[in-house]
Amino acid sequence: MIGSGVIGVGAVAGELGIISPEADLIQFNQNVKFREIEPSADLIVFEQSVGEIEPARDLIRFQQRVGSVAARRRLPQAYIWINGVDYSSYTALDSVSVSFNEDQSATASIFVFRPLDAVINIPSFHAKQIRIETHVDPNDPASDVFPLFTGWIETAQHDRTRRGIAFTCSNLRDERLGDEDAGQLRALTGGVYSNVTQVEDAKGRDYANELMKTVCGSIGYDRAGDRRFYNWGVAGKPVNRTLTGAQVAYADPSTEFQTRSSVINRVTVNIDYRYSLLRSISSEVNVYKERNLVTGQFSTQFGPRDIIDYKAFRRDLMIEKAQSFEPWETLSYSIYPLEKAGNGGFVFDNLWPVADTWCQGFKSSIARRVAQPVTESYKFTITAPQSVDAYGKTIDGTELNYALDTEYDEALWEEEFKQTRKRDFDAARAVAQASADNRRADLALAFEAAYRIGKKQIVAAHRQTHIRGSVHSIFPVDLGDVCEHDNRIVDSIGQITGFEYAIGNGIRRTTIRMTISYMDTLVAAPAENWAAPLAPGYPEADLVLESTAEYNADTEVRAFEINVAEIPADYTDELEPAIAESAYTLPLEINSITLVNGR
């Protein structure tokens, strides 16, 4: 220890002092206890099994026909059940028609005769369930009965001239899809729903419509009224129905190739994602004035003498100032102790006896937090090279533009977050940053949904060639079935996207619209190379800036001019990293077609 030897007076370098012998100042008694690490572990793993409701329903309705051996009954052309009541014998069997079309409600129309003078109660028929069935062989009562239509009466209109009621019916596809469980629809179709790329918070039928925007397939209800989903395309699927030359009507089939203007083979998707980068900016404010600050000289008879500014500062005021840099947060500070005033070895300091209340300045370590908005821009294209070759150019569809924002409250980071109160600042900041960037999962979902939407638009644009043929019999078909035309006019395999049943006088006809995806190209189908775009990563969030503090010795001032660092606009204004661009190729199914100019 070195001291001046005078109580209350410190030693001055170069002056004599008293040498104190070496001794232990502190004896550390360190009691180290063994700390056993208790590892984290799952105490309970919840295996939650959620069951979907499988509704009760009739599997078989027994239609039992009893007659004498010799009797031969004429079978109805169709069975009509309205609200469980058999109207077959009242139905005009020359006017039963049923129509199914992809992504639309199926419709049916019938005419029911009513007895003369009977009371016609039209409202009693409204919205009643109707089921239309027929035999595969209208002459064989033991032949299979299959449904043509299951739905509800849409309109019931009294026809005074015919003395009956004309019904139009619908299977209420959209309404019923709206009643389906959203989770089941997602699982069944493999579709995705994103609040970013689809109508926000869609419910019911809107949800089903939005979901199906991401699925290259169609959903609806079949002839029996059961939900039916199918993927577009015929690859890998067995042929359900073949229409040979002997089956298709004489005047059929007819073909309708897609129009050139309906083709698109590239879709561009733009997605902007905005989050807040939580920056931590630090600086140091060093405020110091030496006690014996020479500010100039003046001449005396003994020669030049220094002009010295002996000013010191109130310690309490400096401490207060050291912590007063709002909006900066003072992390730590230290005080420069009072220096002794003197000149030429003489001490004349009236402050020295109360040195603890005075000081020469302070040094503050300060920090400030800025939540800088960052907008990441992603751009990707989905292109079908086969189509580009077939049509000789890239044909852009409408660009798909989406944006999502974390909507982070900047005050949480800039004002409420206090670094000095955090035991582990990095961990605390990581939590805060996660909160300011909490829609990455939504972004990933939006990427996939946007890709699927673009993909479906391109696939749908090439699925517009139709082959229509009629068969003079009634047989079960369903939307999505794979159909083959192998007849004198057309040789092709496609998918059924519409069919009609017509039963009339001497008529039992099934008309099928088959759709193919055809284009004239030899370019091989590319591999589908979808992978979600990669995020550019966080920019460097930590920043050190310089603050300055200069003592103005002007006798009128004699104070510090403190300039706390200004944060450059680059670190506060919206940051836009380079656009992340990707390109994906999409294979298209090509269904060959051979047309013969046959008779």
Binding site: A56, G67, L188
Partner: protein
């Protein structure tokens, strides 16, 4: 949805109405049919990914329902069994249990044998009997 199919490969969905022709002298005898109870829509890859069970546990059973009990055709005209041979000893009109669960996919299809034996002598066409499945729960296997 679990449905009946008319083929073991489960490609042909049963239309729902089984039309049978009987004679007043019952000379046609008993008429046998076989269907396949399966859900291939939910499990197209045939992974056996789902199980159909009763909500409260227990056996999943089909029942014969009669819309007009006491007149016309009665449930005793229908026999059901899981095997063709089982039809002979099946109790007429009795429920058919398929066990505690059914497994999705073609492989999990359960054959349902049905025998229709008319007991009515008056001529007519009737749709009053049905084979009904109960409400169930579908769980991931």
């Amino acid at each position: 949805m679990w449905k009946l199919y008319t083929d073991a490969a489960c490609t042909q969905v049963f239309g729902g109405t089984l039309s049978t022709v009987h004679y007043s002298d019952h000379s046609e005898g008993s008429l046998d049919y076989v269907f396949y109870f399966a859900d291939v829509e939910r499990d197209p890859a045939d992974n056996g990914a789902y199980l159909l069970k009763m909500p409260g546990g227990g056996n999943y059973s089909f029942t014969i329902e009669d819309a007009t009990p006491g007149s016309g055709h009665e449930t005793t005209e229908i026999k059901t069994a899981l095997t063709s041979a089982g039809l002979d000893n099946a109790v007429p009109g009795a429920a058919l249990s398929i066990g505690v669960s059914a497994t999705s996919g073609v492989t999990g299809a359960i054959p349902i044998h049905v025998r229709v034996t008319n007991a009515v002598t008056s001529a007519g066409v009737s749709v009053e009997l049905s084979l009904r499945k109960p409400e169930g729960r579908v769980y991931a296997a």
